[in-house]
């Protein structure tokens, strides 16, 4: 319905997106290639009442995740009380021992979360995964909306849609809330990063400086930005788009040349905010995902509003048995992988592959989770002028300022391949705008 006005501008909108640099950089066989991120003009539309429910559930979930991270790096009550087995914490890739005993400014660990959801055929929404480290993607629907509004203003007069161009304001509020005094910067590894477009766009939209590691320096326990004239200005908040391990060669990977020596030492003292907080990946490990509904009950004493996809942990004997008996109907995920890698469908394995997989599963039960394959509700896309159904997910963005804020939009990603369930941009999918009706 709503796409009628926009569709005829499809080519023009995609051209503009390309001109603005909406691209996704990927490394294939060690060669850096920028590819376009194809935009489909048919929006995903979410009714107000439905989104209100999602919003409550997302706020609840991210609040519990933030509590969990705080607890893990301090009191460890959830381990003491046997709700989460310590093995899932300490042998997960996201746990960083350097974060033990460190409390970030205002106790916020999950400043920007990207929560991936899918809608099932039963119309229920399920959480697929929580992305807490450096979730990207908000800039794509922001700029797409902007260009769509300019291409077809009439469409946006006709429908009552929440304006999603306020993301920059929400982000600014989130960064300002934890700023310890001084400028706010967005730290990028540079233009060869997959999400460089986003880094520069968010800097422009929020009024933060876009910097690389060599423009920042630690002196006298404070962080400074060195401007073009060599003048030093204090920095109080760093929205860093480089991963924990490269942040500071003195505290993490000592080979890192894109980080800032000693930035973590002064963060430990509370003299700068790092957004998102280092070590918060302890809560978005695929193994920990299983326990998130339990965290909601444990920390908030509330029933979880949003459901996980039905998940089994082969770590537990009962679940292992279920997985072995039902492997053909399950999707199996390696907890150490991300970006759509390390995901296999039981039904698609050959006999030998299955035998090899089962042997590996028995050897390293903690390494995998198994999930029921959800019947996604297909959504329509235009493919060469024809409307066809495709699998899609929704990345919702939750920001933690003085209170949790849910962005009334999101990144809808779809698979262009009719037989694929994998929608990741790094695997060649496209995106849509997400309209939340007001």
């Amino acid at each position: 319905m709503a796409a009628d006005g926009l569709y005829k501008y499809s080519e023009q909108i995609n051209e503009l997106l390309a001109r603005y640099g909406v691209k996704f950089g990927i490394y294939k066989n060690n060669v850096f290639k920028e590819q376009l991120f194809p935009f489909d003009t048919i929006p995903r539309i979410i009714e107000k009442a439905e989104f209100d429910c999602l919003e409550r559930g997302l706020k609840q979930r991210v609040t519990a995740l933030n509590e969990f991270i705080k607890d893990i790096y301090s009191d460890k009550k959830i381990i003491r009380d046997g709700v989460v087995p310590e093995e899932f914490v300490y042998s997960g890739s996201g746990y960083l021992v350097q974060c033990e005993g460190v409390c970030p400014p205002k106790g916020v660990y999950t400043h920007i979360s990207g929560i991936d959801l899918v809608q099932g055929e039963d119309k229920n929404w399920y959480i697929l995964e929580d992305n807490l480290r450096i979730p990207s993607g908000a800039s794509y629907p922001m700029i797409a909306r902007d260009i769509c509004r300019r291409s077809s203003p009439a469409t946006f007069e006709k429908y009552h849609i929440e304006d999603n161009r306020n993301y920059a304001k929400l982000l600014r509020r989130t960064m300002d809330y934890v700023n310890t005094g001084g400028h706010t910067v967005i730290l990028s590894p540079g233009r060869y990063n997959a999400a460089y477009f986003e880094h520069s766009y968010l800097a422009e939209q929020t009024g933060a400086h876009l910097v690389t590691g060599s423009e920042l320096t630690v002196e006298n326990d404070r962080l400074y930005f060195i401007d073009y004239s060599g003048k030093k200005e204090q920095v109080g908040a760093v929205y860093r788009r480089i991963s924990d391990e490269y942040l500071d060669p003195m505290n993490f990977n000592k080979e890192s040349v894109i980080g800032i020596p000693h930035i973590y030492d002064i963060y430990r003292k509370g003299n700068v905010a790092l957004i998102n907080a280092p070590g918060n990946g302890v809560a978005d490990d695929k193994g920990i995902y299983y326990f998130v509904p339990k965290m909601v009950k444990y920390y908030l004493n509330e029933e979880p509003i949003l459901q996980n996809a039905p998940t089994y942990l082969p770590y537990y004997e009962k679940d292992m048995k279920y997985v072995l008996d039902n492997i053909d109907t399950l999707v199996l995920k390696d907890v150490a992988e991300a970006g759509g890698y390390g995901v296999v469908f039981g039904s698609k394995m050959t006999k030998t592959e299955k035998e090899e997989f089962i042997a590996l599963l028995k050897r390293e039960p903690r390494r995998f989770i198994a999930q029921e394959v959800i019947d996604f509700l297909d959504i329509d896309i235009y493919d060469d002028g024809e409307i066809v159904p495709r699998k899609a997910d929704l990345r919702a963005f939750v920001l933690m300022a003085d209170e949790p804020l849910v962005w009334k939009s999101g990144l809808t990603r779809f698979s262009r391949d009719p037989d694929s369930f994998i929608v990741n941009s790094s695997q060649g999918g496209g995106f849509k705008d997400t309209w939340v009706l007001s």
Binding site: C99, D221, M250, H262, D265, R268, K269
Partner: protein, 259 residues
């Protein structure tokens, strides 16, 4: 209970001058239940900007940056400590879990696992750890130069020889196979020479220090400098800098009892 004088001297000499030198030093004995630092003096060269903090394991650190060119980097720590081996270092058991998991340096391979399967037996955690220490002492030879600071427990075990760091790593690896929390300790002991290393095993609310290199319990003649999951967490001098060429590090430790 003993009163000890200690002196730690480290000097790193560069073939060519270095600049933009960021460093973190972990060579300052802490106060804990077993040891009390009475006096202490610290000198660092070059001292351009430096600050202090405590890391995630409770180790005291001095970190800083020396941006101008220098040919060597040195730290001197002198002081007096009182050590009481009869005092216990206590902790809540549920907070010690992180010392039950392998790190790169302590992950067992087929060698250590085979050894573990041969020597394992049931018993109380501390008795088990002492038994591992005995067996390790019988099967491992002290030899300098066979291993280096980045040798893993498994590599050292397969060589069959090494120094205190290797003894400690292998003991830690064995204890972790047994699911016992076990941590690495860097420190000093009476006499003259280099720094020493041992391990602490957690049992019944208490961290028990064991010295596998000498196959004995740690007593009043040892001063702890730092602890962590492995030697990497206890790196005494860590740095990044520009320039330098070849480097030569000298370390001299002296600990004497004050009678």
């Amino acid at each position: 209970m003993k009163k000890l004088n200690f002196s730690y001297h480290m000097q790193l000499t560069f073939e060519y001058p270095v600049r933009d030198h960021h460093f973190t030093l972990r060579c300052f004995p802490p106060n804990d239940a077993r040891q009390q630092i009475l006096t202490e003096s610290i000198e660092i060269y070059p001292k351009q900007y430096s600050s202090t903090q405590t890391d995630s394991f409770g180790n005291r650190c001095i970190y800083g940056t020396a941006s101008w060119e220098h040919n060597y980097f040195a730290a001197d720590v002198n002081g007096q400590a009182v050590i009481d081996k009869d005092k216990n270092i206590t902790e809540d058991a549920y907070k010690t879990g992180l010392f039950r998991y392998y790190t790169e340096l302590t992950r067992p391979g087929e060698g250590i696992m085979g050894f573990y399967n041969k020597i394992k037996r049931s018993g109380h955690p501390l008795e088990t750890a002492k038994h591992f220490m005995d067996k390790l002492f019988e099967n491992f030879v002290y030899e300098q130069g066979a291993t280096n600071i980045s040798t893993t427990a498994e590599e050292a075990f397969l060589l069959g020889k090494g120094v205190c760091q290797d003894y400690a790593h292998i003991l830690i690896s064995l204890c972790r196979l047994e699911k016992l929390p076990c941590r690495y300790v860097a420190g000093m002991m009476t006499g003259e020479g280099a720094t020493h290393a041992w391990a602490e095993v957690f049992d019944n609310g208490v961290w028990h220090p064991l010295d596998p290199t000498h196959n004995r319990l740690v007593d009043d003649t040892y001063i702890k400098i730092s602890s962590g999951r492995d030697a990497k967490d206890c790196t005494i001098n860590q740095g990044v800098f520009i320039g330098g060429g070849k480097q030569k590090q000298e370390v001299k430790v002296t600990v004497e009892e004050i009678l």
